[in-house]
C-alpha cells in the first residue's frame, strides 16, 4: 500500500493546474479550479455526478480544451491540445470503459497506436518488455492472451500496463474500482503502491468515500464545478468528506424496523435458464423472498443477477424449474400478469428499460396506472387526472423537473431514477425487484433510493435488491445471496457477514451458508 511512501515534500509538485474554467452550453463544468499533484502521491478527486471531476481530467488528457487557465508540468507551462500531447507529457488516463480491442492479444493492444514503432514490430522485444514491466509492478498478465479471455480486473491491468509501457508517470484513473471485486481492488492498490515508490503519481476520480480513505494521500472535493476543499486524507473522516461533497449531512446508518420476516411471497425453485447461444445463465437457482425483508443479491455484474430479476418479473422464460407467487405456480406468466400480481420492478438499465425517454415525466409516471380508473375510462385516457397525479408524485418524490410535460430524457440520471422509483413504489403490490437501483447515482440520490427501499420493507414488502456495492447490500439487506456464474454460492445473514467473506464468494471461491 502506497501510504508508507508518503513524503512531506510540498515543493515536489509534478503537476499544477491553475484557474481552469471549462464551459459547455448552459453549464460551467469547471469554474477557476486549481489542482496540484505531488510526485509519488495519490490525489483523490471526489465529487457527485456532474461536479466537474471528469471534465477537469479530460482537460488534462487532451480531450477538452479549457476556456481559461493554464497547466504546468514540473514547473513548466504546457499546452495540451490533443491526447497525443498529453501522452508525450507523461499523462495517461484510464477511462471507465476500457479502450481495448477484444480480438487482439495483450501485447498487440499495448503497442496499438504507438507512433515510433517499426513497420513490422518486433513482437519478441515487446513481449520481453511487457514481462519485465509486469514483474516490476506486479501486473500479472500474459502478453499472448486475447483480451476477450481476460477478466475485467485483468483488462484494467492491461490498460495500466499500456500507459506504463508508453512512459506515463501521471496516471488518471476514472472510478477504477467500480468494476472490480474487493480482492481485485486490493491488488490494484498494491500495484499503484509500487508505482508510487518509483516516483510516479496518480489521480483517482471517485465518488466512493471508503476508496478515498484507503487509497489517497490528498483529497480534493469538487462541488458544482468548484473546489470545495483540499485536504490531507489522514486529517478527514468519511463523514466530513460526504458533507463537503453534497453540502449537507449524509446518513451512513439507515433507520429500520426489527427484522421480522413473514410469509414467503416469491418462491424460486430449481430454476435454470439457457440463453440463445446455449450458455447456462442461471443454474439450479432456488430461493425464497419473504414479506418484510430485503434479500440482497451480490455478485460482479454479469453473473446472472439480472437474469434472475427478469425471471421473477416474467420478462425471461425459464428453461426448467418453477416460480411460485404466494404459493401459486406462475411459471411462464407474462410480465403483465406479474405486475397484476403485485410485482414492481426497478430495472437494471434505467434509460433502456425503465423509462421512455421521449415521453413526458407525467406519461412515464402513469405507465403502471394508465390501464385503470381514474387514469382511463373505457379505454380513453383522462389527461387532467394524469397531470394532477404526476404533479403529486413529482412533489412527494422530489423529482427535479421543469414541468410534468418535460421529456424524461432531459432529466439527470438521479431524477430519472426517482421517476422510476416513484412509479414503481406507488404501484407496488408488496413485491419490489430493484436491480442496481443506485448505480451511477450521486450520494444524495443514492440515499433517497435506499431510504425508499427500506421504507417498503418496513411496510412489509418483500424486496429483492441486486447490487454491486457490498456496502449498500450490507447497509440495506437482511440477507445476502451471492451469485457467481449463474449459481448461488450461498446465502448469508447481512449482519454477520463481512466484505471478505462476500468477496471470496463473489469470486467463486467458497460455498457456504449460514442460513
Amino acid at each position: 500500500m502506497g501510504k508508507e511512501t508518503q513524503k512531506k515534500t510540498q515543493d515536489n509538485v509534478i503537476l499544477r493546474m491553475s484557474g481552469i474554467t471549462k464551459r459547455f452550453p448552459g453549464v460551467t463544468a469547471n469554474n477557476h479550479v486549481d489542482l496540484s499533484l505531488n510526485a509519488g502521491e495519490i490525489l483523490a478527486l471526489l465529487g457527485e455526478n456532474g461536479a466537474g471531476k471528469s471534465s477537469l481530467m479530460n482537460v488534462l488528457a487532451g480531450l477538452y480544451r479549457p476556456d481559461e487557465g493554464s497547466i504546468f508540468i514540473r514547473g513548466e507551462q504546457v499546452q495540451i491540445h490533443s491526447p497525443q500531447d498529453s501522452m508525450r507529457l507523461g499523462i495517461g488516463m484510464i477511462h471507465q470503459e476500457f479502450m481495448l480491442v477484444e480480438t487482439m492479444t495483450v501485447a498487440e493492444n499495448i503497442i496499438l497506436g504507438m507512433k515510433d514503432l517499426p513497420f513490422i514490430p518486433l513482437m519478441q522485444e515487446v513481449r520481453n518488455k511487457i514481462t519485465e514491466l509486469s514483474e516490476r509492478y506486479g501486473l500479472k498478465v500474459n502478453p499472448d492472451k486475447y483480451i476477450y479471455e481476460l477478466s475485467v480486473g485483468e483488462q484494467q491491468r492491461v490498460e495500466i500496463l499500456k500507459l506504463v509501457y508508453q512512459g506515463a508517470d501521471i496516471l488518471i484513473l476514472d472510478e477504477p474500482t467500480a468494476v472490480l471485486t474487493p480482492q481485485e481492488a486490493r491488488d490494484l492498490n498494491t500495484i499503484i503502491g509500487m508505482m508510487l515508490s518509483e516516483g510516479k503519481s496518480a489521480i483517482f476520480i471517485t465518488h466512493k468515500m471508503d476508496e478515498v480513505i484507503e487509497f489517497s494521500h490528498q483529497v480534493q472535493v469538487l462541488r458544482k464545478g468548484e473546489t470545495v476543499a483540499v485536504c490531507k486524507t489522514d486529517e478527514v473522516t468519511p463523514k466530513d468528506l460526504a458533507k463537503m461533497m453534497v453540502g449537507r449531512e449524509i446518513l451512513f446508518h439507515l433507520e429500520r424496523d426489527v427484522y421480522k420476516p413473514g410469509e414467503v411471497r416469491v418462491h424460486v425453485e430449481d430454476v435454470s435458464v439457457i440463453d440463445q447461444t446455449g450458455r447456462a445463465v442461471l443454474e439450479h437457482i432456488s430461493l425464497d423472498l419473504k414479506e418484510g425483508e430485503v434479500l440482497g443479491i451480490a455478485g460482479v455484474a454479469g453473473n446472472g443477477q439480472q437474469e434472475l430479476s427478469e425471471v421473477i418479473t416474467g420478462l425471461m422464460p425459464v428453461t426448467s424449474g418453477y416460480l411460485y407467487l404466494d404459493e401459486r405456480d406462475v411459471t411462464g406468466a407474462t410480465p403483465l400478469k406479474m405486475i397484476k400480481n403485485g410485482i414492481s420492478h426497478i430495472p437494471a438499465d434505467r434509460s433502456a428499460m425503465g423509462v421512455v425517454g421521449d415521453m413526458s415525466v407525467a406519461d412515464n409516471l402513469v405507465m403502471k396506472r394508465y390501464r385503470k380508473r381514474p387514469m382511463s375510462k373505457n379505454g380513453i385516457l383522462n389527461g387532467s387526472v394524469i397531470v394532477k397525479f404526476a404533479k403529486k408524485m413529482i412533489d412527494v418524490f422530489k423529482i427535479a423537473t421543469p414541468e410534468s410535460s418535460t421529456r424524461v430524457k432531459f432529466l439527470s440520471g438521479g431524477n430519472i431514477q426517482k421517476t422510476i422509483l416513484a412509479r414503481e413504489i406507488d404501484s407496488c403490490g408488496g413485491i419490489l425487484i430493484a436491480v442496481y437501483p443506485s448505480r451511477g447515482l450521486d450520494v444524495g440520490a443514492t440515499e433517497a433510493v435506499r431510504k425508499n427501499i427500506l421504507k417498503q420493507r418496513d411496510n412489509r414488502a418483500a424486496v429483492l435488491l441486486v447490487s454491486e456495492e457490498l456496502e449498500e447490500l450490507m447497509m440495506v439487506s437482511d440477507k445476502i445471496a451471492v451469485m457467481f456464474e449463474g449459481k448461488i454460492m450461498g446465502i448469508v445473514d447481512a449482519r454477520e457477514t463481512n466484505i471478505e467473506q462476500l468477496g471470496m464468494m463473489m469470486a467463486g471461491m467458497v460455498k457456504e451458508s449460514t442460513l
Binding site: 452550453p25 410480465p335 433502456a352 428499460m353 421521449d358 380513453i380 385516457l381
Partner: protein, 366 residues
Amino acid sequence: MRMVHYKNKRIVLEKREARSGKILFIVPIISFIVSLVLGAVVLAASGANPFSTYFYMARGAFGSWVGFTETLVKAIPLILTGLGVTIAFKLRFWNIGAEGQLVFGAIGTAWVMIFWTFLPVQMLLPIALLVGMTAGALWAGIAAVLKAKWGVDETLTTLMMNYIAILFAEYLYYGPWRDPDGYGFPGTKAFPREAWLPRIAGRAHWGLVIALAAAVILWFVLYKTKWGFEIKMIGLNQRAARCQGVNIQRNIILVLLVSGALSGLAGAVEVTAVQHRLMKGIDMGYGFTAIIVAWMAQLNPFAAVLVALIMAGLLVGGDQIQMMMGLPASMGLVLQGLLLFPLLAGTIFSDYRLRVVKQEEVEQCS
C-alpha cells in the same frame, strides 16, 4: 492582467429541450420556400421559366374548381394510405407495403361487387368497403404475424408483398375476372351503378368524408386512448414498454391490421368511386407516396391530410405543366422529390437549434 479576445466563431447544433409548436409550424414553411427555390434552379436549367411553371402548376391544382376537385380525388387515397402508414410507423413497424394493401383492398371490394350478386344492391357498397378493408388488413397482417412470431424483417416482407398483390390483381383482370364483353380491355366488368360511391362535387366523392373521418378517429386513438399510449410506448422504447407489461406481439398484429385496413379502404374507395371496376392502373403508386406523406407529416394524422393535399396538388399540377409548358410530366415528379429534401432535412430543426459559439481564448500577460 487578463486579456480576453474572441476568436473562431463556430456554429453548433444544440438539442432543444422541448419541441415548440411555433417551430414545428415554421420549419415546414421555410423548407417549402427553400424547395421552391431549388426547383426554380432545375426548371431554369431545363429552359423553362420557373415563375410561370409554378403559376401553371398552382393554377392547375388549386386555381379552378375543376382542378381543385381533381386534386381532392388524388388526395383521398393519399390521405387514407398516409394514415395507414402513420399508425404503423408510430410503432416503428416499417410498413412499406401500403401499395399492396391498397391493391388487395381493391381486389376484395371487386370480389364482392362482381360475385356477391345474391346481396340486395343497396347492401353491396357498405359490404364491399368492409370486405376491402378486411382484405387490406389481412394482407398487412401476414407480415405482422411473421414479425411478431419469428422476428422476420418487415421492410422486406411488406415490400415484396406489394409485388405479389400487384401481380395477383393483374392476373385477375387479365385472366379469370376479365370482362368478357370488354373487347380485350384489361379490367373487370363495371360494378352496378347503384353501388358506386357517390360524388359530392365534380369528380370529388364521398371518399373525402371517409378519409377526413379516418384522420379524426386516428388522431383520437393515437393521442387520447390507452391503446395509443401503448403504441407510443412501444414505438419509442420497446424494452421499456415490455417491462411495463405491454404485450408487444399482440400490438404489432393489431396495429398492422388497422394499418392495412386503412390502405385497403383507400383501394376500396378508389375502385367504387373513381374506376368503378378493378382494372389496369389500380397500382398508381399512392401507397409509396404515402410513406412520404406520413414522414413529412411527422406522423401526425391532421398534418397528413394537409401533406396529402400538397402531394396531390403536385401530381395534378405536374400534368398541367405538361400541357401548358410542354415540359415532361416527369418534371412534376422531380419537383415532388425536390420538395422532400428540404422538408426532411428541415425536421432536424424541430429537435435542434443553431447557435453561434464564440470560442474564448485567454492570454496571460505578464
